[in-house]
């Protein structure tokens, strides 16, 4: 935990369950698990499609980071905004996107969210408040602050969740953005998904502080480091930060310590980390943990979990079929959408 501790949620008397189980209905929790599966299976489906030559270019998979995506978006509405990263498929799904249109985008199809113009790194669904993934590390940070300025100027109660990775915390954009959000008390929650590596360079080698949340001190905002593989821990920290933002009290920084099971991108040969380290984190998989909790607290049993998994399989298969069957963009329209029509 960083030195500027966030408000903690007092357990209801006699209720020692984790925050998410006290805060959200069983239906919401089941939906959250379903979204985590959906992200996992989407990523695996994308990886498989890539291997089969259905997707070109590259992609950055978020397998292992599902808790930070879903936990951060749990209490957001469609009018709350997010900015996302190059590792943004999970954020997109957590904010309510349809996997069929996402696969279609990855396949370069006209029915994709970006009509095949953006691909994995620019996936967005503005109708659900997702302002987009970003190919530039740190690119989304000032944009999130600008969106938060809009919310304030338009007197909306909506907030902006700004996802970024540990790599972005050494970009100038990070520091400029946190400072501006703080001086103007803007409703933005900076959610750092610290998966330990900026491509190949570890945070120990790249970052002067042990916990990125400590950097909140420099910008006079609450900063908290949580177990990013615990959906409840993420949801709790973001809930507190969101409450503060909606109350007009300004931004917060939430650091989610997590891990990507796959390499940085398709070119990664994993030379910078050990098999043991990867195995250790795979054992801390956020989905398995959440399943266990749901069973322990009597919200789901094995049959219920199997039913959710089955429905996700169907949705993924249908999504891939939709994408395959969709039309390609017309090359005569290659320069369309550069300017407004």
């Amino acid at each position: 935990m960083s030195s500027t501790a966030a408000e903690t949620i007092a357990p209801l008397s006699g209720d020692n369950r984790p925050f998410a189980f006290r805060q959200f209905s069983p239906e919401t929790l089941k939906t959250a698990l379903r979204q985590m599966y959906l992200i996992r299976r989407f990523e695996e489906g994308a990886e498989e499609s890539y291997m089969r030559g259905l997707i070109h270019g590259t992609m950055h998979l978020s397998i292992g980071q599902e808790a930070s995506a879903v936990g951060s978006c749990l209490a957001l509405s469609d009018t709350d905004q997010i900015t996302s990263t190059h590792r943004g498929h999970g954020h997109c799904i957590a904010k309510g996107a349809e996997v069929g249109r996402m696969f279609a985008e990855f396949f370069g199809k006209e029915t994709g969210y970006c009509r095949g113009r953006g691909g994995s790194m620019h996936i967005a669904d503005v109708t659900k408040g997702n302002l987009g993934a970003n190919g530039i590390v740190g690119g989304g940070l000032p944009i999130a602050v600008g969106a938060a300025l809009s919310m304030k100027m338009q007197k909306r109660k909506d907030v902006v969740v700004c996802f970024f990775g540990d790599g972005a915390n050494n970009e100038g954009a990070f520091h400029e953005s946190l400072n501006m959000a703080a001086i103007w008390k803007l409703p933005v929650i900076f959610v750092c998904e610290n998966n330990k590596y900026g491509m190949s360079v570890s945070t120990e080698r790249s970052t002067a502080v042990a916990n990125i949340a400590e950097r909140a001190v420099a910008y006079a905002m609450p900063g908290v480091t949580v177990d990013g593989n615990s959906i409840s821990a993420v949801a709790e920290a973001v809930h507190v930060a969101t409450k503060r933002a909606r109350a007009g009290e300004g931004p917060s920084l939430v650091e989610c310590k997590t891990y990507r099971h796959r390499g940085h991108s398709k070119s990664d040969r994993n030379r910078y980390r050990t098999k043991e380290e990867i195995a250790e984190w795979v054992a801390k998989d956020p989905i398995g943990r959440f399943e266990t909790e749901l069973k322990d607290y009597g919200i789901l049993d094995e049959a219920g979990i199997a039913a959710i998994r089955d429905s996700v399989e169907t949705e993924i298969a249908n999504g891939i079929e939709f994408a395959k069957a969709s039309p390609m963009p017309d090359p005569s329209e290659a320069t369309r959408y550069v300017y407004s029509d």
Binding site: Y113, C114, L131, G139, P142, I143, S150
Partner: protein
């Protein structure tokens, strides 16, 4: 254009810009301005002046000295329903903000398949002549002119400064406006009230049959001065004010060159790979090529940073005698 009064009221270029900002902010509550020292200081070149007292500091926003972040905040606000105007204190400082301008503002609409637009205006005080030396005097409009997704304007008169800014604010796409610092104090006729100058249209400032000078920004005035002096020796110049680097008004330029058969491009940015290179190539590739009676000439900035010493500073950008000499060379070759 809406009922613009054309009585002979004169404003400076800076006042004309300020008036455009005020009109836009009165008409549309989504419009706001942000930048460094734009509040009580009134802007480094007094463009925003007292606007903060009129509109409050939540619409005339002083930013920290953080150009990358500031530009990105403007992009984010534009994406989510606002109409920001971002003022760079000096255009040179926009080099710190290239990421947000080039990768984000210019490309977001395209990358998202048309799902968003970025109605953003950025203002760039540019150019030499103030003794501010190499890091405060550049003309880098060709950099941004190279980026699809942006529109890049260079108003040369107070009338255009106001009308182009209003057009830019009402445009759905990101518009970059290069304002020459030496022009801020120049006075000219400016109608009261709202009017717009269309984006992407060059203007023939002076008609003449002997040679075309396509000039941008402050060079328009130098070209007009040169034309007056050349007229005394019987050379009658046509002066085209480029006004818009992107989109470029191919039609007006080509029509003029087909009429005169001679072309000189005059611009303050570095000559090599500059705006004049594009104009020259466009003409050379066009139906006007067969009408050329002489090689195309370019007068641009020297291959050097802008020096501090005033004589050196003048020496590195085209001056009136340079334009006169170039035109004489072109015209006499054929006579």
């Amino acid at each position: 254009m809406s009922e613009a009064k054309t009585a002979g009221r004169e404003l400076s270029y800076a006042q004309a810009i300020q008036e455009a900002i005020a009109i836009a902010m009165e008409r549309d509550e989504r419009v706001f301005l942000m930048g460094e020292d734009v509040g009580v200081y009134g802007g480094a070149f007094q463009v925003t002046g007292d606007l903060v007292h009129r509109f409050g500091d939540d619409r005339i926003i002083d930013t920290p000295i953080a150009e990358l972040g500031g530009a990105g905040v403007a992009v984010g606000a534009a994406l989510t329903g606002m109409r920001p105007i971002y003022e760079f204190q000096f255009s040179d400082f926009a080099t710190l903000a290239m990421e947000q301008i080039v990768n984000q503002a210019a490309k977001l609409r395209f990358m998202l398949g048309g799902a968003v637009s970025v109605p953003l205006v950025m203002r760039f005080p540019a150019g030499s002549g103030t003794g501010a030396a190499a890091q405060h005097s550049q003309s880098l409009e060709a950099w941004l002119g190279h980026v699809p997704g942006l529109k890049v304007l260079q108003p040369a008169t107070p009338y255009d400064a106001k009308g182009m800014l209003l057009a830019a604010i009402e445009d759905p796409d990101p518009v970059m406006i290069y304002e020459h610092k030496i022009l801020y104090k120049m006075k000219g006729e400016v109608p009261e009230g709202h009017y717009t100058v269309p984006i992407g249209k060059a203007l023939v400032r002076r008609e003449g049959p002997d040679a075309t000078v396509v000039a941008s920004s402050i060079m328009v005035h130098k070209a007009l001065d040169a034309a007056e002096k050349l007229a005394e020796e019987g050379i009658d110049l046509e002066v085209v004010d480029l006004r818009s680097v992107r989109p470029m008004d191919r039609e007006t330029i080509i029509r003029s060159v087909m009429k005169t058969g001679r072309l000189v491009c005059v611009y303050e940015g570095v000559k090599t790979l500059g705006v004049g290179a594009e104009i020259s190539a466009m003409v050379a590739e066009s139906e006007a090529f067969d009408y050329l009676d002489a090689p195309i000439l370019r007068l641009g900035g020297a291959e050097a940073p802008i020096p501090y010493n005033p004589e050196l500073e003048k020496a590195v950008v085209p001056q009136v005698p340079d334009i006169i000499a170039a035109v004489r060379q072109l015209v006499r070759k054929e006579r």
